[in-house]
């Protein structure tokens, strides 16, 4: 059997085998896993048989020089459905992020990559972890998010889901470091890589590692890849201040934070804390498992279709376990009485941005299942139209066992206006169904096992419009000391979500060669 016949035979065999399989199968996950395992097995066999192509004569260094990428971005968003305040309230947030990636050729075949990233955000939403913060909405004299506000004073203690507070949770810094190492075979038909990852922010720490293997065959017209990653993350949970304070005061409204705080009912009347109808959280157990682990396996296949087009397919299988909800996010139940702190006359106006001085005490934090299985499937197609235009497209279907399914469609048309400058207009559409556990503010029931009012898990669609410009100089004429500028890119995107959230991001990147 010659090479092309063998290709055809295997292709047909796979098509029949998997085509029939898929036609018969239900869309349950248990049948997908053996399918993927079969694919992996045949992939190995196939790639080994195809490895002896005619491209082994010349061995080019995988990376000629040290390359350094600098990336930075500024992101801002706003909306009216903050999850920290139970599905209503300001979602205002800004984030400034920067990353440096250094790729070092260790020899002809190996590349070491080191990256470090820092992201600093300021968020009106997360500041309302403690909406009663002194220098913020409450106007008192303690500026932390903690639960040591033992001197809480009923006079002047207010809060609002629509006003930024100023405690520690108002801003945070997320840092991330990654080390990767890749090795390519002499014929450049096989690539192995491994990576280690560490990330940390004030309430979250992550350690991850992974590896991947790629096979090129069919004269480097086809490529299979498989990768696996595991993240072992840990919450350092921070809670809505009223819940944390309540538990710290041994559930006694005459102790701690609540000692001198007046609690109001729905009618604005001050409640009798020793009476029967008082505010109490639904659960007195908050996070009991601080771990949050993620395991993923990814398969990819790329194929050159002709001289001007190529396509790739990706499928990930992702399993998450542990505390998958956010301890910061409040939930208010429809079937429980409401209680407030602040100005009684503003209660009737609670869900309006005009409410500046009353805050509703949480019924609970969000509760979500301790496991989640996700399957995203994506495809990319790049088509070289002519010397000026290229078409880049991407589509992804996503489903998980929380009841969410989503579609993402994206295209970009690079336009080479000169040999050095390229424009990048782009458009992206996204739509998703809601998680089974989502309901808006005051619409969850306390009888449910799981509940959230996080609009990131709601039913919505989003449009994103982008425009970028890139400068490329293959001769690297612009030089700063030993850094030669290879390319620079600036991009702006605007994001509109049907929930009312809007976002803007501007990104700037430089790619240097270091000699």
């Amino acid at each position: 059997m010659n090479l092309s016949n063998k290709n055809y035979y295997l292709s047909t065999l796979f098509t029949i085998r998997f085509g029939n399989h898929i036609a018969k199968k239900k869309s349950n996950l248990s049948k997908i896993v053996p399918l993927i395992a079969s694919l992996f097995f045949f992939t190995i066999t196939f790639s080994q048989e195809q490895d002896n192509d005619d491209t082994k004569d010349y061995k080019k260094r995988v990376l000629e020089n040290i390359e350094i990428d600098f990336l930075t971005s500024y992101y801002t968003q706003d909306g009216d459905n903050a999850a920290v305040t139970g599905g209503i309230g300001t979602e205002e947030l800004t984030d400034l992020a920067s990353e440096i990636v250094i790729s070092i050729p260790m020899n002809d075949d190996d590349v070491l990559s080191i990256s470090a990233e820092i992201s600093t955000y300021t968020s009106a939403s997360s500041s309302n972890l403690d909406p009663f913060d002194s220098s913020g909405a409450s106007g008192g004299d303690d500026d932390d998010d903690d639960d040591d506000d033992d001197d809480g004073n009923s006079s002047g203690v207010t809060g609002s889901p629509w006003i930024e507070s100023s405690g520690d949770s108002r801003k945070d810094t997320w840092i991330n470091a990654n080390v990767g190492y890749s090795h390519s075979s002499d014929d450049r038909n096989k690539i192995w890589s491994a990576n280690l990852n560490f990330a940390n922010e004030y309430d979250y720490t992550s350690i991850g590692f992974g590896g991947s293997h790629s096979w090129l065959f069919n004269e480097k017209n086809s490529e299979f890849g498989i990768s696996g990653n595991a993240y072992f993350d840990t919450w350092n949970p921070k809670y809505p201040t009223e819940l944390d304070s309540y538990l710290e005061a041994n559930q006694n409204l005459f102790n701690g934070f609540f000692n001198a705080i007046e609690i109001l009912d729905q009618n604005g009347n001050i409640i009798d804390k020793s009476g029967a109808n008082v505010w109490r959280p639904l659960n007195t157990t908050l996070v009991d498992d601080t771990s949050r682990n993620t395991y993923s396996v990814s398969l990819s296949f790329s194929q050159i279709l002709n001289k001007n087009a190529q396509i790739s397919f990706f499928i990930d299988l992702v399993q998450q376990e542990g505390w998958l909800s956010s301890p910061l996010q409040r939930v208010y139940f429809k079937d429980r009485d409401n209680f407030y702190v602040g100005n009684a006359s503003s209660i009737s106006n609670y869900t309006s941005p005009n409410n500046r001085d009353v805050f509703q005490l949480a019924d609970d934090i969000e509760r979500l299942p301790s496991s989640r299985f996700k399957i995203p499937i994506g495809t990319r197609l790049s088509y070289y139209i002519n010397e000026i235009f290229v078409l880049r497209t991407y589509y992804r279907y996503y489903t998980d066992d929380w009841g969410i399914s989503a579609h993402t469609a994206e295209f970009e048309i690079p336009i080479k206006i000169t040999d050095k400058f390229t424009l990048y207009p782009s458009y992206r559409y996204y739509t998703q169904t809601a998680a089974d556990y989502f309901a808006p503010y005051e619409e969850n029931l306390s009888t449910q096992e799981f509940y959230t009012s996080d609009y990131d898990l709601s039913d919505f669609n989003a449009n994103q419009y982008g425009f970028g410009i890139k400068y490329t100089d293959i001769f690297t004429k612009i030089q700063f000391w030993k850094f030669k500028l290879k390319s620079a890119e600036l991009k702006y995107s605007h994001y509109d979500r049907s929930t009312g959230l809007t976002a803007d991001i501007i990104s700037l990147g430089f790619n240097y060669i270091f000699e």
Partner: protein, 69 residues
Amino acid sequence: MKKVLYLFFVVSFLTSCVAVKEYEKVNINDPDMVLAAKKSNKFETSFQVYRESASGANGGKSGGGCGCN
């Protein structure tokens, strides 16, 4: 779901017979033809991971490393 999977396998294997020679890959090797998310889109992808439930299947991270969805 079934249709997408079917398309995945059928297109993958039917097209694997095509062989474009190295010297014919000038257009394919254009940097804008790369079949991966661009480096400069990293932060954009990051905010999308936070604000949307779907992630992954783009050659990058598909979960873990942050307290996001």
